[in-house]
């Protein structure tokens, strides 16, 4: 059953075996698996339950409904916009459905550096396969590759660079191109469509429009969560769920913020630190023929020429198309007034690529006195350099694909007509907002490690030193992933569900 906490008229206390905070990829999978195993599970979701039939394909309607801070969440210096999901299904409602397993080399690094032997590729293979089967992950049909993605393919081919088609979790896709504003055709094989119905059919309950304020701890054990109903942004009655196990699955931002606000045990001062976000810079190419990047699947092709996932490697750039609907793209165009409008008129003729950084820089999630999360994040020198090289590579790809001009949205815009004019990008002295960056993959703030000195949680997702508390989202990743995280987060949810079931059985 799904209920809005707005219906609550007075402070309410319920009991359950498990309470899950958040209903994105990790929380959704955990909710389903725990319910199927017979646990009484209650999930809490800050946002609303938005059904595909209500999606309008317009940014001004959908940003407030589906995104944290109406799409305006940023690092505190305003330099990086961090797009995160809000509402039932979290980011699975508006992501672009890219399905890649965590890279083997990254998982090996986790095993070597953090003692996470159970996360080695061979140990994860069955779970990955099960998740992919459940979500109907498949190869993207070459016939579904849109023009923007075709141009990336063409550029890679001409340069002899590595890359190719991606996999996705869509069925019944009509190629509307509105994935990131929610699919009105319900073609995403995501939490609301695939996992939630099963969970609900097995007795799971989900309260929407309530914000978890505190994890309850008694006698050295997590025993529940105190949440508060939200009425048009205003606090309402409390909703307390007392449970045998508590799982944080509200994203690397939300879970860390809740952990900090709750004052959970953190003897090694790790909670909220180690924030990685995969910052990305966009580069546009102007073509003579219309590109119409807003039509069709937005991302179906990747370029892996500049990424090897080796720890410490300077090759840390993953390149994908990054076309956006008008507001998202036009706001990134440099300048203002008439000059800006002249650029905007080229919208239909632009192809856009993004250089996404497999970041070594680590930020921090803090909490304001009002309880709001604050994202502190600055790129280190090595990452700035890698990003500059990534932007240059995007330009090379666009020229190789036939672009007449390449535009880089720096404060003083770089408009290149030849590849050699891209050279300054490699040494561009990055400063916040120059260029504008965006990110969609926060992770790492409650990281796993065998030792409590290096991780907040162990390899099973259990909080070191606080029985009854688990984490089931991207917070768990001890490093940046270097690729789309949803499959790994779903898989984490599945594994944490197993940990909880095992622990409760033995309790």
């Amino acid at each position: 059953m799904i209920r809005s906490a707005q219906e609550l008229r007075e402070d309410t206390t319920l009991t359950a075996d498990l309470v899950v905070v958040g209903s994105g990829a990790g929380g959704g999978m955990l909710l389903r698996d725990a319910a199927l195993a017979g646990l009484r599970v209650i999930a809490l979701e800050e946002g609303g339950h938005h059904r595909p039939a209500t999606f309008t394909q317009r940014e001004r309607d959908m940003l407030p409904r589906l995104f944290q801070d109406a799409g305006g969440r940023q690092t505190v210096d305003g330099a990086i916009t961090v797009l995160q999901g809000r509402g039932v299904g979290g980011s699975t409602v508006h992501n672009t459905n890219l399905c890649k397993r965590a890279p083997d080399r990254v998982l090996e690094e986790w095993a070597e550096r953090f003692g996470l032997a159970d996360w080695r590729p061979a140990r994860l293979a069955d779970d990955f396969a099960a998740v992919e089967a459940l979500l109907h992950v498949s190869d993207i049909d070459p016939g579904q590759v849109n023009r923007n993605n075709e141009l990336l393919l063409r550029g890679m081919k001409r340069l002899g660079w590595r890359g190719g088609l991606l996999r996705h979790n869509r069925r019944g896709c009509i190629g509307s191109g509105f994935c990131e504003l929610g699919c009105a055709y319900d073609a995403k094989e995501n939490v609301p469509k695939v996992l939630l119905p099963e969970a609900l059919a097995h007795g799971a309950e989900l309260f929407t429009e309530c914000r978890a304020e505190r994890v309850l701890v008694e006698a050295g054990r997590a025993v529940g969560v105190m949440a508060r109903a939200l009425r048009q942004g205003q606090p309402g009655p409390t909703l307390t769920i007392r449970a045998r196990a508590v799982a944080l699955a509200g994203s690397a931002v939300g879970s860390a913020a809740l952990a900090r606000a709750s004052g959970l045990p953190d003897p090694h001062d790790l909670v909220g630190r180690n924030l990685h976000i995969h910052p990305a810079a966009a580069v546009a190419g102007l073509f003579d023929e219309p590109v119409e990047g807003y039509v069709g699947i937005p991302q179906s092709v990747e370029c892996t020429e500049l990424i090897d996932w080796e720890p410490g490697s300077p090759r840390r750039i993953w390149i994908v198309p990054a076309f956006a609907h008008p507001v998202g793209l036009v706001a990134m165009m440099p300048g203002f007034g008439a000059a800006h409008m002249r650029l905007a008129r080229r919208y239909r003729y632009l192809a856009v690529l993004a250089a996404m950084l497999h970041d070594e820089s680590a930020g921090e999630v803090r909490v304001t006195r009002a309880g709001r999360p604050e994202l502190h994040y600055r790129l280190n020198e090595a990452d700035r350099s890698a990003l500059g090289r990534g932007m240059q590579a995007c330009g090379q790809l666009l020229f190789a694909a036939g672009a007449r001009e390449v535009m880089v949205p720096l404060t003083r815009p770089l408009v290149a007509r030849t590849e050699s004019e891209l050279a300054p990008l490699a040494t561009h002295p990055y400063r916040p907002l120059d260029p504008l960056l965006s990110a969609v993959h926060p992770m790492g703030t409650l990281p796993m490690a065998a030792s409590p000195e290096h991780g907040v949680t162990d390899g099973r997702g259990a909080w070191h030193g606080l029985p009854g508390l688990y984490v089931a989202d991207g917070s768990l990743f001890p490093t940046s992933l270097g690729g789309p995280p949803q499959i790994t987060i779903y898989t984490a949810g599945r594994r944490v569900a197993r940990s909880i079931l095992e622990d409760l059985r033995h309790a």
């Binding site: 801070d69 305003g78 706001a331 000059a339 409008m341 709001r372 404060t411």
Partner: protein
């Protein structure tokens, strides 16, 4: 896409030498100054912004969205201010407060020549250009926040889709 401004009044007081003084003085003076006349019919439709804040926002938007050629819809025609106001109604009040502080700063703290709304378009452009490329992160942040809101209020409208060559949603617009 970065609609939410993150400029805080306190940050400004710390980071800019004159900004704090101007903002403080501006806030005091602003409360006692009149001259912000808004059509009552329009004023009653505002959910978040005060009439004064609306007028400052529109003055900024008219420059940020100045047309490149005749025929481009004017920001007033599109109702950019009301669109932005509606969007702000979805934000956390603390974020809205920051934006309101930013608008007051633009009006009373961006030029020694007078209120932003009373400057010539050329002078307004000069201020915006200064903010856009300022050495102060917080000014560039303020500029980008205003620009993103202006774009949100203008380019998500069927009348501006044509300007972009964008066909718009596949679904009926009234959905």
């Amino acid at each position: 896409m970065s609609p939410g401004p993150r400029i805080s009044r306190r940050q400004f007081l710390r980071r800019t030498l004159l900004g704090g003084l101007l903002l403080g003085a501006g806030a005091v003076v602003g409360r006692h100054l009149t001259g912000y006349q808004l059509d009552p019919g329009l004023a009653t439709r505002l959910r978040v912004l005060s009439p004064k804040e609306y007028l400052v926002l529109m003055a900024v938007c008219r420059r940020l969205l100045a047309p490149d050629e005749a025929g481009a819809p004017a920001p007033d025609e599109i109702g950019v201010g009301l669109n932005v106001d509606r969007y702000l109604g979805e934000l956390d009040p603390s974020l809205v407060g920051q934006l309101q502080a930013l608008l007051h700063l633009v009006e009373h703290g961006s030029s020694l020549r007078g209120r932003f709304t009373r400057l010539s378009p050329e002078a307004q452009d000069e201020i915006l250009a200064t903010w856009e490329s300022s050495r102060l992160d917080v000014r560039r942040q303020g500029f980008q926040a205003l620009k993103t809101l202006a774009v949100l209020g203008y380019y998500d409208d069927p009348r501006t889709f044509a300007l972009l060559g964008y066909p718009g949603p596949l679904l009926p617009l009234e959905r």
